[in-house]
Structure formats: C-alpha cells, structure tokens
C-alpha cells in the first residue's frame, strides 16, 4: 500500500475523492496547461539560461532605487533559515529573534530620522508615503474634527510615487495640488508652498529631500511653515543613506518621515522586495499603520518583545483598521538593521560622503566636456543625482546605450514635458571612474570601441 492509501485508510475514507464531497464533481481535476516538473539540475540550467538573457551593463540609473554597496555579512545572516522561514511573530515567545531585530530596526530608523517612533515596515517607499497621507487625513477628520480634502505635493516629487498616491486616494475625495519648482535651481518654491498652505481643508504637505531631481530642498524654511498650519508635514527621504550627512526630518519639524529603505542593504531586484520606512512623532503612535514591536517583560520579569498596539490592525479592527496591511517586509527590515549595525554612524557618513563625491565628479566631467550639453539647473545643489540637458537626441541616446551596454540615466521628458532634453544621472559610492568617463564620452557623442562594455 502506498503512503497515500495508508493515510486515506486511517482517515477512514476509500479514496481521495471521498474527501471532497462538497466540490462540484464535473469541475474536479481539470487539466493544467503546464510543463512537467524539473529536477534540480534541470532547474539550474533553466535559470542560468534566463539569467544569461539579462545583459551586463554599467548604469547611472537612480530615480528612487540605488545600487549601493552591500556588505557580505548582511545576506549571509538574512539567509539563515531561522529568519528566512519563520512567520509573523504572533507567538512572541517562539519569535524573539525576529522581534528583537524589529525593535532594533524601529530604534535605528527613529534615530536616523530624528523621530520618536517607527513601525516595523511598509511595502515600499511609495506605499509608505500613501499610508502617511491616509494617516494625516484621518488625523484631521477624527482628531481635529476638520474636513480633509486637499494635499500639497511638490511637482518635483518622484512621478511613480505621485501615481501611487493618486491610486490610493482615488475613491477618497482628495485633491492633489502640485507646488512648482524653481527653474534656476530646481528647488521647490517655498513661497508658493506657503501661499498654497492657506487654502482651507488642506490636511498635509509633502516634501522630498532631496527631491526627484536630486536637488536639496530648503528644509529649514519648509519646516518653519509647519508652525503656521494644521496640515501635517510629511517628509519623504529620498535615500536614507543621505542621512549620514543631511539633517534628519525630525530636526525640521516633520510630523511623519517616510523613505524607501532599499539602499540599506537590499539588492535592486527589478523593483522589489524593498522596504518602506515609516517614522513619526509620538503624537501619532496609536494611528501608525502596520505592525509595531514593543518591549515588555515575561512572567518572571525578564525582558522580552512582542507585537503591540494590535487594535490598530486589520485582524482586530477590520474595516476600521488604520491600514489593510498584514504581511509586511520584515526580512528586508532585518537586512536593513544588519546593514546599519555594520556601518554604524561613521560608515554611513562615509558611504554618503563618497556618494556625494562620485556624483560631483560626474558633474564636473560633464561641465568640462565640449559637446555633452548643459546642466538643467545651473545653480543645482545636489546629493547623488542631477539632471543634465543633453545635446544628443533621445533616439540616438537609446541606440548607443543599447550598443554599448551603458544605461546613462533616467530621461525626464515623459514625466516632465517642460524638461525635454533632461537626463537624470545618479551615482553611488560604487560608481567607477572608468564608467563615468564612458558615460561622458557617450553623452558627447564620441564613438569609441573602448566604450563597449562586454560580458
């Protein structure tokens, strides 16, 4: 007798179908149009063939996801089965490892952002921003008893974040107004923001530091505006590594700070899994979306950790929950925690400084070249990326890019028609000087065999 037959007998049925009495008989056991299963050896060949179809390239693409250095230790630890194959720590006593790491994660993110509290992660930076706006909306309606109909966002906000916000707010009767940027320096127009904040029913304003163009905003002046409005100030930190050298959002009055945490030890992975960082002032603790880990004691008074403030969440509050999020990005949060503990404050500062230097080296090279073009914003102050108006046509650029396996950056024309020639160019501490020279040659229209990057 096969094991299946033995088990069926022990269960007390004759056949497998006897276990399915309530399923419609005529629909049972459909044919599946799938290939047959592979052995592990065949699977590896198959995966390698597909991997070979991705091209090795040099890239200056940033725009919200950055190729920073990941120390070996991060994923050596993350891949441990005890972290990788556990689930949500509902049984806290058997999940102290994950809970401790989340408590440390929350602490580090709060510290890094200069805020009081952080949650245990959101899906990504864009959904963290959307959830921050939902929090602000409920705060205005429920806590302040006000109408909440409008948000202010910079025109220079990440276009995919804008798109995500508008999807999340689609059915909630919220108007999204854009604040323009200054054409000389690429900064958001603080005076325009100040005027717009006087409009009634505005419940939040968003500022991205740096903004989507990589340009540093005047967060000191923007923070002062918070004192004259009830609208919540939500700061999107474009890359948390920048906080190694930049003022944290807590220092300039942000109510909520969010970020894409991918640069903290996560590979680019074509868009995910990433990790949304979400930090806030104490006032908002009970309104945070998602899971929160708290410290407590056990029956003998020893320190331990458990998920807490769960009445905010969907499994208890259902349609009245602060968010619908359940599964979050715990393992990515653990990776970020390991990354930050390996770098420490000085390592983070060094990574940020080196990134800043690499980006400015490219800027200088481009400015010193004859035929590349001109900076989109003549008076740009930037951290790791900047836009540059090219002379070369878009079509020519795409063709040369594909021929040379060099991806020069993110063309802005589609999202910002007012910047038809602009290319957003990013660096990290990993950017190689040789690749930077290739980039400058390419943008100068110089055809050179040494330009081609080979597998």
């Amino acid at each position: 007798m096969s094991q299946q037959e033995t088990l069926l007998k022990k269960i007390g049925v004759k056949s497998f179908e006897d276990l399915l009495p309530s399923l419609p008989k005529d629909l049972l056991f459909p044919t599946l149009d799938l290939p047959t299963g592979k052995t592990e050896m065949e699977l590896r060949e198959h995966a390698d063939r597909l991997a070979g179809a991705n091209r090795p390239v040099a890239s200056f693409m940033g725009a919200g996801a950055y190729d920073h250095f990941i120390p070996q230790t991060v994923w050596e630890i993350v891949k441990r089965g005890e972290f990788l194959t556990a689930y949500t720590p509902y049984q806290a006593e058997a999940s102290q490892g994950t809970l401790l790491a989340l408590f440390e994660f929350q602490t580090m993110i709060s510290e890094l952002f200069g805020m009081d509290v952080a949650n245990a992660s959101m899906y990504d930076g864009s959904t963290a921003l959307a959830e921050a706006l939902l929090l602000a909306r409920r705060w205005h309606m429920e806590e302040l008893g006000r109408r909440a109909r409008k948000i202010l966002i910079p025109r220079a906000l990440h276009p995919q974040y804008k798109a995500t916000l508008s999807t999340y707010l689609k059915n909630l009767d919220v108007k999204i107004e854009e604040i323009p940027y200054n054409r000389q320096n690429g900064r958001t127009d603080v005076a325009a923001l100040k005027t717009a904040l006087k409009q009634p029913e505005t419940f939040a304003f968003v500022v991205s530091q740096p903004n989507f163009f990589g340009i540093l905003e005047e967060t000191d002046l923007i923070g002062e505006l918070r004192q004259q409005t009830e609208a919540l100030f939500i700061c999107l930190v474009n890359n948390p590594i920048s906080l190694g050298i930049l003022n944290p959002p807590g220092s300039y009055n942000a109510d909520i700070a969010v970020a894409e945490g991918q640069p903290l030890g996560l590979p680019l992975s074509f868009g995910g899994p990433y990790v949304g960082l979400f930090a806030a002032k104490n006032t908002y603790t009970r309104r945070l979306p998602g899971r929160i880990c708290g410290r407590t004691v056990d029956a003998q008074g020893k320190t331990g950790y458990a998920l807490t403030l769960q009445t905010r969440e969907q499994h208890i509050r259902r349609e009245k929950a602060t968010s619908n999020i359940c599964t979050n990005q715990t393992l990515c949060a653990v990776a970020a925690t390991i990354y930050l503990s390996l770098l420490g404050p000085d390592g983070l500062r060094e990574a940020a400084e080196l990134t800043l230097e690499r980006a400015h080296e490219i800027w200088d090279l481009l400015l010193g070249s004859t035929n590349a073009g001109a900076p989109t914003f003549a008076k740009a102050e930037f951290f790791q990326e900047f836009p540059f108006d090219l002379k070369i046509t878009r079509e020519r650029l795409e063709a040369v890019s594909s021929e040379t396996n060099l991806i020069p950056g993110y063309p802005l024309a589609h999202d910002f028609p007012e910047l038809p020639q602009a290319l957003l160019i990013a660096a990290t501490e990993k950017t190689k000087k040789l690749d930077a020279k290739r980039l400058v040659n390419l943008l100068n229209g110089i055809k050179d065999a040494s330009n081609v990057i080979r597998a």
């Binding site: 269960i11 194959t85 058997a94 899994p273 029956a299």
Partner: protein, 485 residues
C-alpha cells in the same frame, strides 16, 4: 534575553569601512542642511554583529527547524533549490527602470510565472505588482471600481459583501478602497448563508468577496449558486486565494464563477515567509477586467517583431500604479522557480497531499481529544474548538503556548472570529505522517496535563528563552524604541 545592539555598542568600533572621500561635504552642501550630530547608531565589530544576529535567530521557531502548523499561513517547506534562481546576481542586480533590452531574462521569468498561474486558476490576465495578499485585495477592489466607473455605475455600486468568517484584510481593504462593507453571518455549517446573501445582494453591490476554501477549511458548497446570484445582480465575484494550496489541479477558481482572485505566493508558492514578509501577491482577473489592471504590465511583442517582452507603462483605463516599481521581483522569481520545479503533476500532488495531511491530522487531533468545528472532511486545514470549562480553565492560548515547549510552533488561535476558542491547524503537504503523529501526541499530553496540572499549561511556555510575555503591559505602556542616551 540578549542585550540589544545599543547596549553592545562601544565608541570607535567599526565593521565596514569605505575609502575616504577627498572632498568634505560642506564643500557641496549648505551648512544649514548638514547633520550636526551623528545618529546614535550602534558601533560594533563584524563579529559582534554576526554573533548577535546568529544568537537572535536561534530564538526563533521556523519551518527549517520546527513543525509550524500555523493555519491560514501555509507554512510549507521552502526548497533550497529555489535559492539559485531567486538570488541569482543577474536578476538581483537589475534596476527596475532599466530598458527592457537589458532585462529580457527577468521579463521571461515573470512571463512564465504569469502563464503558469493563469493555467492553474483558469484566469485570463495577471498582475504581479502587489506586494502581498492585502495589497492585491485593494488592487482588485480598485479594479472593480474602475470597471463600474467605466460602465457608469460607480456612484450606485458602493457595497462589498463579505462573510463574517473572512480574513480581517478583506473588510479593511474594502474600506480603504472607499467601499461600504456589508458583513453576512455564516450558517451553522460554516458556509455562506445564501438566504442572507439574497437579502443584501442588489444593484448597489459591487462585489461579493469570499475565501475558498473558507477560513474554516471548508469548501463553499454553494459557490456556484452564489456566483450565479452575484452575476445576476451585476456584481463581481472575488476569491481570496489565501487558501489556494487546497485547489491546485483540484478545481480552477474561474470555473467556479470568480471574476477575480488573488494568490499569496508566500503561502502556496513557497516564497519563504521571512518572519512576516516580504510576500508577494498576484491578482488574476477574467478578460472583462483586464484593461483596468494596474501598470506597469508585461507585454510580448508579436513574433514578427522578434517576440521580445516589454513593459507597458500606461493604459487609459488602468487604475494606475499601486507601488513605485514593478513588483517584488525577487520573490516572484522564487515562485517561478517553485512552479518550474513542481510542474503540472507536482502542483496537483502538492494540493492533494495537503488535503490528505490535513484530514489525517484532523483525525489524529480528534482522537487526541480536540473537537473539530465541523463533522465534514476538511480541505487543507482544520479548525477545532475547546471548552475551557471542561479543561479546568485551560484556554486555547494556553495549549498554544504549551505546544511551544514540545518543540512545535502553535496553530493559529482565536481565528476565525466566529469560532469560540478557535484553533486552526494547517500541516501542509511537506510534513511527514510521523511529524503529524508526534504533534497529535503532544496535544494529547497537554490535554491530560490540563486535567492533572492545569497551572502548568496556563504558565507555559517553560522551555523557551522567555516565559509568557506580558502583552497587557506592552500595550498599556508601549515602549517601541530603545532609549539611546
């Protein structure tokens, strides 16, 4: 308990160093924007970090180390063979905004996953964008909203009908999508009450959202009738596919009348759960809903244009974006690998074994003294209820905590909400009969302890790094960060 990293920190220690920049940041950044004080991150050596996290990991129960019968979560074994594809540097290094010519291998992998999932469910179109099941629910709800907008019925159809046994994410997602939630009670048999449904179903209904098999581990035997009624009322049928592990090769959700559904790839398709995430959700729809799916979407050029795959970034009827980039690609590759490994016969075998295992465990636990919620055979999981009055006041929570002492993770407890003192057990197909028998023996022992020494059970766990944690204190006086001085 281990000390935190902040307590281990000593000034001047370092694990990772970078080459020194030649330039000082103040040369390029206005002084008023520069950070005046370093963040209080811990300062540690690499060994400090490795030892801390390794020791921390050893305080976790996990599928790799323990039987993890957490109902509704499908804690199956995650084959190591899938690491290769999922973590391959050629895929891990790809930037989400690279042009499609650079990432054909990634796109081919994703296209294969889309086709496979469509084949298993009978659905016509797929979006791989959602980050998790709840995210996919929200997308499905917005897709239905966009469909009714297009048909001029959006103002009227404001209602989503959800049974009281549903996952909490269903009503939470409906509310987030701007809809009104109408809850209907389940019947005594744990099924949708068709009479109740008829009373609330009308032309203001946008969607009927049900879980199949439901959260009691039972197949909704009136599902075809429910679909017929919903469609007659002009509403969409949504299937919460959290329990898809019971259905692969058993029945296709499309054939049951569903217009849309989601699958939690971290459950059925073996993406490791990661301590609570990251997961990956997938929303699948029938043809009439396809054009409303979020962007970006994967499209294949016709064969005469080299048949390459590319990314569709905009579509006039799409609900738009639901996250910054394409999806949790790293996790999608994990699922693609699992699907390739199992193939046609393997996925059927997985569901079949999951159902047989669940029924075997149900029988074992019944023999051990637990009361199943239902008399019928279960699908991939079974729900039990206990009566603390008959167990000297021992509650489900106590049994769950005591199981940890026996080296088993606990089942899901107090869910579904409609079952008093509920305990939901899902063994999955990857556990051996011997493991299930050992688990049932542990339950039997605990039930006898409840008779002889109930306090021992109420005080559990005894053998873990910490004793029972005070979650009342944690909630009354929340401490959610370490106070770095």
């Amino acid at each position: 308990m281990l000390p935190t990293l902040f307590e281990l920190s000593r000034s001047g220690k370092r694990a990772v160093k970078f080459p020194k920049a030649a330039m000082h940041s103040s040369a390029k950044i206005p002084a008023k924007l520069l950070r005046r004080q370093n963040p209080s991150l811990p300062e540690l050596t690499e060994l400090d970090v490795v030892r801390h996290f390794t020791l921390a990991s050893q305080m976790n129960y996990s599928v790799d180390t323990q039987f993890y019968p957490l109902g509704s979560c499908t804690m199956k074994y995650n084959p190591k063979a899938n690491f290769h594809w999922a973590l391959h540097p050629a895929f891990a290094g790809a930037h989400p905004l690279w042009p499609s010519w650079a990432v054909q291998g990634t796109l081919e992998s994703l296209a294969g996953l889309e086709e496979g999932l469509a084949a298993i469910t009978g659905m016509d179109a797929v979006t791989l964008a959602p980050a998790a099941g709840a995210h996919a629910e929200l997308v499905g709800i917005l897709v239905a909203g966009a469909f009714y907008q297009d048909k001029g019925q959006a103002a009227k159809r404001r209602k989503i009908i959800i049974p009281d046994s549903a996952h909490g994410t269903n009503p939470a997602s409906a509310a987030l999508g701007g809809f009104e939630v109408v809850t209907i009670k389940s019947t005594a048999r744990g099924r949708i009450d068709v009479l109740q449904l008829k009373k609330v179903l009308d032309d203001t209904t946008a969607m009927v959202m049900i879980t199949v098999p439901n959260t009691l581990g039972l197949f909704e035997d009136d599902v075809l009738e429910v679909s017929r009624l919903a469609h007659n009322a002009g509403a969409q049928m949504y299937m919460d596919g959290a329990n898809m592990n019971a259905l692969m090769g058993i029945v296709k959700p499309a054939s049951l009348g569903f217009d849309m559904m989601h699958i939690n790839l971290h459950k059925t398709f073996s993406v490791p759960h990661g301590g609570g995430g990251p997961g990956a959700g997938v929303l699948l729809v029938r043809r009439h809903l396809e054009e409303y799916l979020p962007v970006p979407r994967l499209i294949r050029r016709p064969a005469n244009q080299n048949g390459e795959l590319s990314i569709l970034d905009a579509h006039p009827k799409s609900i738009g974006r639901i996250r910054a980039f394409h999806g949790s690609t790293g996790n999608l590759l994990w699922a693609a690998s699992y699907l390739a490994l199992l193939g046609r016969d393997g996925v059927f075998q997985a569901s079949r074994d999951a159902i047989v295992n669940a029924n075997y465990l149900r029988r074992l636990l019944q023999d051990a003294g637990l009361t199943p919620y239902s008399d019928e055979p279960c699908m991939h999981e079974a729900v039990f209820t206990i009566d603390p009055k008959k167990l000297n006041g021992v509650r489900t929570l106590d049994i769950a905590k005591r199981l940890l002492d026996f080296g088993f993770y606990a089942p899901t407890v107090y869910f579904p909400l409609i079952v008093p003192e509920a305990m939901m057990v899902e063994p999955t197909e990857t556990e051996s009969p011997e493991t299930l028998e050992q688990f049932a023996n542990a339950v039997k022992t605990i039930l006898s302890e409840a008779a002889s020494d109930p306090q021992k059970v109420k005080d559990a766990p005894h053998a873990l790094p910490v004793r029972r944690l005070d979650d009342v204190l944690a909630a009354r006086n929340p401490v959610v960060t370490y106070q770095v001085s």
